[in-house]
Symmetry: C2
Subunit: 190 residues, 2 copies
């Protein structure tokens, strides 16, 4: 049994990690640690800086997740600052910015970083393409889920339950890519 | 003659620092150093983290400036992330967010941090209250200047030249407060 702690204050993220990793024999606990997130252009930069910080502080077996919604016609906004934009502007603010814009293409992206006991690092990034809906719909999920419709769907992420969302979502994909890499790393370090 | 270098990639900021400090016998050069800006709620947190980083790297006699536009009815947005919001959404995006909002109160805030040769730190924050205009006006200044009207004025910051802007602006006020503190510190360390 592998046990890793997830550094997050978001219960929705913790739920998605547990849902995806428990079946692979990976136990996920909530970490009480924290690290500084830098202002950067990409999720990877934020994750790399945090891992460097954790390394210095000798914290191991910990996972971090940075995700964001990137909207094409807004130059990638809110991107790395999605959680701040959600807190201040909310879904309504994003819909207002998208008002009268024909190009509603967007993608959710998720970068997971992990620092293992032996000092090994794992960084994976996955995404899901879609579009911004005309109005908020659904009550499941969290963050900008009510205004994001993944490609090939007519429902928003918030209208799709976790069982259906995880197989296609940015975080579900990133968690599975992470698990594959992790299993390889853990076996190699035996 | 005191000589300090300013860590900025923004020529507008450098101009305002020089304009305000040269008459006080303080020479301002452009620093080639850089430091990480963290994601935070306040400008002060960003500045403090950067000063800590500079201290560790033994860089001295350097000034940093973090500024932002905080809009009341948008929960303080874009705040600490003003430069990112300017790059992605621009003035037009902010005006769109403000569409049909009666409360247009906002303030510009500027936090200046400085690490002196002897290891002493100076941190000052000043602001200017005002409101978001109905449309972009003026071509002077930079950033969100074309949509900010300071209290007691009918013109935006971009319609007011640097000579008139510095006496009332957040940065002008912060630079003068900084100069007063600096002069005290420099004299005390003699």
């Amino acid at each position: 049994m592998i046990s890793l702690s997830l550094m997050t204050s978001n219960p929705g993220k913790l739920r998605e990690f547990r849902h995806e990793l428990s079946s692979l024999g990976i136990e996920v606990t909530k970490s009480s640690e924290d690290c500084e997130e830098i202002q950067a252009e990409t999720l990877e930069e934020v994750v790399r800086y945090c891992l460097k910080d954790l390394k210095r502080r000798k914290i191991r077996d910990v996972m971090i997740d940075d995700s964001g919604l990137f909207i094409d016609s807004l130059g990638g906004f809110p991107g790395v600052y999605s959680s701040y934009a959600f807190k201040t502007l909310g879904c309504k603010g994003i819909l207002k910015l998208m008002d009268r814009l024909d190009d509603r293409k967007a993608h959710f992206s998720c970068c997971i970083g992990c620092l293992l006991r032996g000092g090994k690092e794992i960084i994976v990034t996955e995404g899901v393409k879609g579009r911004i809906s005309a109005e908020e719909r659904g009550s499941q999920g969290f963050g900008f889920d009510p205004i994001f419709v993944p490609d090939g769907e007519s429902r928003t992420f918030a209208e799709i339950g976790i069982e259906e969302k995880n197989p296609i979502s940015h975080r579900g994909r990133a968690i599975r890519a992470f698990a594959i890499t992790l299993t390889g790393k853990v076996e190699r370090t035996k």
